[in-house]
Amino acid sequence: MSQATERPVLDPTIALPFHQAALPVLRDAQLRKNVAHAIDVIQTKRGRLVAEKTDWQELRSAAAEIRAHVLENLGTYLEQFEARCTAAGGHVHWASDAAEAREIIRGILRSEKASEVIKIKTMTSAEIQLNPYLEADGVNVFETDLAEIILQLGNQEPSHIVVPALHINRSQVREIFAKSMGRPELSDDPQTLTDAARRYLRRKFLDIPAAISGANFLIAETGGVAIVESEGNGRMCLTLPKTLIALAGIEKVLPRFTDLEVMLQVLARSATGERMNPYTSLWNGVTPGDGPQNFHVVLLDNGRSSILGKAKERQTLRCIRCAACMNACPVYRQTGGHAYGSVYPGPIGAILTPQLMQLQHAQSLPYASSLCGACYEVCPVKINIPEILIDLRAQVVDQERHKGSGIFSPLNVGLRIAGVLFSSAGLFHAAQRIGRIGARLFTRKDGWIHSLPSVGGKWTQTRDLRGFPKQTFREWFENRPAKIGTEGK
């Protein structure tokens, strides 16, 4: 079994800081191989399609501006959505936080006397920890996405927001299905396993009268809800039951139906490297005779409005959950999602999770990046993730300064001292001389440093450091012979 020693914790209020959470994952060879393979597959497909799309940058620009415009006018567009959805026969609820959202959903299920519910994959429901809450209330929750079934039956956590079970091998899936579906004869061929999932779910789709979904987009103009999927379980959940509850972050709204012409093009290419995903469904409220007659939308704040108020950070909410950023991220490539301690991993998770927590938790996530910028390059809505990462780091430092915490960490002490040294040439030069002398203690005969104490030890645990040269550049320049002139030309 590949699994890193313990079940990963995706609750930012109790998860380990990134650099610690990453350790067991880095030692998990199967997980790292699976993550790299999954990323390579999607990236290759995406790359090909983006290259063929001559108006890709124009689409990105339009997508970014549409999303930015919505966020600036979110109140108006949400109210419009609510009015149209209600007029079309839907019920719209507003939840300030996770607890309220869970209660609203449970209330709806109770009034329907629903003891079972089928679910389409929605990260938002994982964000509010809905499943355990409903289970504790005696409601059986059946995930219907293949990856979510694998995770649910195998009692595991998602590691990616589009391909959540990418860290699991076919033989592990076989084991999970064989045991929980009572089918020991199953082979590990992906087709066979998929057929097993189809059989397992068929009766559930037909029999269970309540479903919970997320929403990819809410259309203000029509009160419509759009869901983008590949497997068809979405269509099953959206069409067959009597009651449908769609849980959506407040930021999911688009102004008009036609805005989908931009968003659907960028989403499919970014998320799965396809021109269009297999099934996209859109419905406005209730249509008599077709689909759920009891339809509810639960709009979720849960920290989003606080991000909305920050001019620089507002762009975080443009996110359409395509996961292109984590597919492009060289850090994510090595660690997969579990190290981020949140249902939102990767670059978007590194900026979204701490902000949803109002920086009370997940303060290590903004540092879980080498600031390479690959995420910004691929983001279909042009979220400048590196800029926000740096800004969040500044906020974390300010927070630590006010609280007086972390100020004595060796790195922070070193940084503050360096700040003073850089402010004066005299101090800087003196520090260089002292550093040069001090470094000799650690410099070996080959002229390199192989081992350093404290923070330096984090460098030397895997790298050497060349010893300090006898002269700084400045010292050489000030003492050099007459300049070269035209020699060598």
Partner: protein
Amino acid sequence: MRASLFITCYNDTLFPETGRAVVFLLERLGVDLEFHPKQTCCGQMHANTGFRTEAFSQAKRLVQMYADAENVVIPSSSCVAMMRDQYPGLFDELGNQSLRSDFAALLPRVYELSEFLIDKLGVEDVGAYFPHRVTYHASCHGLRAIQLGDRPFRLLQKVRGLDFAPLPNLDRCCGFGGTFSVKNAEVSSAMMTAKLQDVLSTKAEFCTALDNSCLMHLGGAMHREFAGMKTIHMAQILASTEKSPMEAFA
């Protein structure tokens, strides 16, 4: 043509040979080079770690120091990126009108080394001779932040005797990331190992780049692992001639 060299804090202290190479190279090309002895740091390390006030005071100092420079040349794309991407925000937030206009006047005169050679001096063939197999690593700041494009390749192509080996997965970060290399040392090392695989697969003798930061990280691993490859800043390749090979300014 006059230019003022901003050597960068880490080049000054740890890679003076890169600075020497820049001097040899630019003076050979007829540039009248000056060096302000009181320079320290651009503030990037502090800005990227969240210490904005410290970063700002270094930025202010730099802008004031180079107010009269005809051109500023910097052999480090990350420092140039710092000035282009983060200085505006720092000065908007913490500076005043006079500082902001000084900065705005300075910025167009700031060049990364390959930008200075190709855009300002208009040369691709700098008269270099470097008979070795070389691969080029594109640092993320050079690649994405200041978008050097094909400048490094055009310069290397004109170096006589140089056997160029393209690097697979060129656009993937090496894992240095400044303080990331110690704050998330294990992940940084995992990224470094992946990068090293690509670099070593080129069977080059040297891995070059326009930033010693990445090279310090990759070179440190190469040395630890007896990998049989070395790192060298591109300035040292470009400064190298038959008469003055790279050892001349090492």
